[in-house]
């Protein structure tokens, strides 16, 4: 379209007709992507739209079911990340790949250390590391420092240096800035712009619209496993892009909020809560019938806050009150007990929410075993009754309740995680990014469900990495920055601009 966006050069990379399925889920369907040298190409899309799958295929982590990849016009296929690396494709994934107990230089040269007489040439390795760090805009990091001694934002710079040491032609950044402070983000951006001028092709995956606006030359939007639009950056408004991403008009996605916030008593109160360096002096309350969001960049203490409330973290300072009474919870078992009635929908359903090889049935009733048993003996009839009710309530689609829960689609797995807690009829519901990696339809069902639960009297504390969700679902949003509540947004104040500005800490005191 649009005369190849005015670029006569042949594309460096073309992916055509790429399809990939994971069990019951179609991750990519006939997807296409064209990448040119000397450009920063942003890939947008909701979680689960297929971006990560596409990147993993390109980086050789997984292979596509169908489709082909052309590099410099010649067809290529990568059986491993190492092969992709040799072809000049290097990826920086969201999760850090550094080994904490090795030095920065060891990590940077890990895949292909310089050798002399079969042994690692430490002097050459250090030189390589220094060059890579300088190129990554972080010459201040000592190559002999241990990675575990570096703060998270510095580690991310090492990660970038490590990828540059592999001499990429195409550099992929998958949410690579999510752990960075605002100052580091600026540094990374200037590095990325310099790499672009050196002729590298950069693929930039991010949820942050302002980052894309600042960096990208071209954008491609993915939705439900297909690329739905490609356009030069800056030619569409944020709202148009969001509509492309979700495929329908934005405002219909969320259930209506109550006009005025409920004036009920606070169910959950938190006073001067602190934990190590990650939570500092956090005070807030959640009233009955309220959906309170936790916002901010990833890793600013939101997860720790939810875990602290649920009794998982040891050594928390401050006070937590439930129904006005101070409580000291030291385990999830105490948090879910009858007097408290708390539930936590954890972050990662595969490792924290579910026992994947166990049956749907066993997973559903697992948090409520005390409710369906007498003296440790499971009452199968009572168990089945409660399970059936939950399957109906959440419309869980499972071939059989006896199949392993790992065989369900991501959305249905997440429904099982939620259902297993709703079975207890909790009064305080903590959610840790519950819609990550699930399809749009299931997301909507979850939004509706949250509002229904709140209307029925639950107090909901809801962390999401998706700003739209916070805007659409929450009565109030607490924006965290560096373990502190930076700002509380109420009602109409909850806008993308306010969320992002507060999250990046660019409003107020940082200007000084």
């Amino acid at each position: 379209m649009a005369a190849d966006m005015g670029d006569a050069r042949p594309p460096l990379l073309r992916m055509e007709g790429i399809s990939k399925r994971f069990g019951g889920v179609r991750a990519l369907e006939e997807a296409e992507l064209t990448v040119r040298a000397g450009r920063i190409h942003a890939v947008l899309g909701e979680n689960g739209a297929g971006k990560s799958t596409l990147i993993k295929i390109l980086a050789g982590v997984i292979s596509p079911d169908e489709g082909r990849m052309l590099l410099d016009g010649g067809e290529v296929s990568f059986a491993s990340p190492a092969e992709a690396n040799r072809a000049g494709i290097v990826c920086i994934f969201q999760e850090l790949s550094l080994i904490p107990d090795l030095s920065v230089a060891d990590n940077i040269a890990l895949f292909d250390p310089p050798r002399r007489f079969g042994l690692i040439d430490r002097r050459a390795q250090r030189r390589i590391a220094e060059e890579a760090l300088a190129r990554a805009g972080a010459p201040d990091i000592h190559p002999m420092a241990l990675v575990k001694d570096l703060p998270l934002s510095r580690r991310q710079m090492v990660e970038i240096a490590k990828s540059l040491a592999r001499q990429p032609r195409i550099l992929i950044l998958d949410e690579a800035t999510s752990a960075l402070t605002a100052a580091d983000v600026a540094k990374v951006f200037s590095v990325l712009k310099r790499l672009r001028s050196e002729g590298l092709a950069l693929l930039y995956i991010s949820h942050r619209m302002h980052e894309i606006a600042e960096l990208a030359d071209e954008c491609t939007v993915f939705r439900n496993g297909r690329n739905v639009a490609s356009y030069p950056a800056g030619t569409k408004t944020d709202n148009e892009v969001v509509e492309l991403m979700i495929g329908r008009e934005y405002k219909h996605v969320f259930p209506p909020k109550p006009v005025s916030p409920p004036a009920a008593r606070p169910v959950l109160e938190c006073r001067n809560l602190s934990w190590s360096e990650r939570l500092r002096d956090i005070s807030f309350s959640v009233r009955q019938g309220e959906v309170v969001g936790l916002g901010g960049l990833d890793g600013q203490g939101q997860r720790e806050l939810l875990l602290a409330l649920f009794g998982v973290l040891r050594g928390c300072g401050g006070k937590v009150l439930v129904n006005g009474k101070p409580v000291a919870l030291s385990s999830p078992g105490q948090a879910k007990a009858d007097g408290i009635g708390m539930a936590l929908i954890p972050e990662d359903r595969k490792t924290e929410g579910l026992m994947l090889p166990m049956s749907v049935r066993e997973n559903l009733s697992f948090a409520s075993l005390d409710r369906v048993s007498r003296h440790g003996l499971i009452d199968r009839a009572a168990e089945d009754r409660q399970i059936e009710e939950m399957v109906r309530l959440l419309a869980i689609r499972a071939g059989s309740l006896d199949m392993p829960v790992g065989g369900l689609s991501g959305g249905n797995q997440q429904k099982v995680v939620i259902a297993k807690w709703l079975m207890r009829a909790p009064r305080i519901i903590l959610l840790n990014d519950p819609t990550r990696g699930i399809d749009v339809g299931t997301k909507q069902e979850i939004y509706q469900l949250l509002r229904r639960l709140a209307d029925a009297g639950a107090a909901i504390l809801f962390y999401s990495t998706d700003y739209d969700e916070l805007i659409g679902c929450c009565d109030r949003v607490l924006v965290l920055y560096d373990g502190m509540i930076k700002r509380e947004l109420v009602g109409k104040e909850i806008t993308e601009h306010a969320l992002i500005a507060t999250a990046l800490n660019i409003s107020g005191e940082q200007a000084a």
Partner: protein
């Protein structure tokens, strides 16, 4: 397409675990092979005798299975068995009260070893391989101190001998009845109670179980206590069988107990396995031992064959396709 086939496959898998089926098939093959040597191998007397011998291993393997289902291991079996046998016999030397309390005392000593293991693994987060090896060494040392390094003089009580060698039901050895009772209890525990459900859950994903509000540490500790107690009870029975306890009486039970559990299809990584499989594994190991001894295979050769068998079974069943 392939995904529906997978689902059907997994459903079938859950109904008839191929490991269990294979283990039973191996038993039949071994007996058929043995009958080539001597027709005695198919006689009811021989089979009942094998079942009786298998009972001792069966009791011990039951405890081992609980621990393996958690994704842990109990290497203190050898001396938990010896402690059970020796302490029961020792108690018998203290008058009538001692005679009455011999069996409970022996089992309690094993439970104490299990308690130490359990506290170490669950609360102090010591890897089970290390702590159980350590308690095994400590138990051995204590027993050597107690006996002065000689074979203990005390002999088993009449009750112990009756449990191990008598037969209350005509024709069926008591040991087999005891194993059957313990087996029923184990099946019940694993399938019908919150404890059993939690054991499987912890073996699959301890973090998820903990975040579901289960007291995972208590479950782990109780499983180790049960393992220690069952090992010691196995020792009590063995002492009754031989009329006395011996220093190294448990040494021959560690590897067979692990092998029986694993051959029966219980995942060595925890979270998956059925008691039926353990029964099959126990019988398989016992018949194998019997045939090897009939063939006059030296002890060294038997050890080699155990080791190879375990590795072969792990290769066959240890790697189920990863679920998303």
């Amino acid at each position: 397409m392939s995904e529906t086939a997978n689902l059907v496959g997994t459903r079938w898998l859950r109904r008839v675990d191929p490991a269990v089926a294979t283990a039973f098939a191996c038993i039949i093959l071994l007996l058929a092979f043995g009958s080539l040597y001597s027709t005695n191998f198919l006689s009811p007397e021989y089979l009942l005798q094998q079942l009786k011998v298998a009972s001792f291993l069966g009791v011990i393997a039951t405890g081992m299975m609980l621990v393996i289902l958690l994704g842990q291991i109990d290497l203190s079996v050898p001396w938990a068995v010896a402690v059970g046998g020796m302490m029961a016999c020792a108690a018998a030397a203290y008058g009538t009260v001692g005679v009455y309390l011999a069996i409970p005392f022996g089992v309690a000593c094993g439970a104490a070893i299990g308690l130490v293991n359990g506290i170490g693994v669950a609360y102090l987060r010591i890897p089970s391989m290390i702590i159980t090896l350590a308690t095994n060494a400590v138990a051995q040392g204590l027993m050597v101190v107690y006996t002065g390094g000689f074979s203990p003089r005390d002999s088993a009580t009449a009750a112990m001998r009756f449990l191990a060698t008598g037969s209350l039901l005509p024709g069926i050895p008591n040991a087999v009845v005891i194993w059957a009772l313990i087996g029923f209890a184990a099946v019940f525990l694993l399938t019908r109670t919150t404890f059993g459900r939690s054991v499987y859950a912890i073996g699959n994903r301890e973090r998820a179980a903990y975040l579901s509000g289960i007291d995972t540490r208590r479950i782990v500790m109780v499983a180790f206590i049960l393992s220690g107690a069952l090992s010691a009870f196995g020792g009590v029975l063995l002492a009754g069988y031989a009329s006395k306890a011996a220093q190294a009486m448990g040494d021959a039970y560690l590897l067979p107990a692990i092998a029986a559990v694993v051959l029966g299809g219980t995942s060595i990584l925890g979270g998956r396995g059925s008691y039926l499989g353990t029964i099959a594994g126990v019988i398989l190991i016992t018949v194998l031992q019997s045939i090897l001894s009939v063939m006059q295979m030296p002890e060294a050769g038997r050890q080699v064959i155990y080791g190879i068998l375990i590795v072969a079974m792990l290769l066959l069943y240890g790697r189920t396709p990863a679920l998303r």
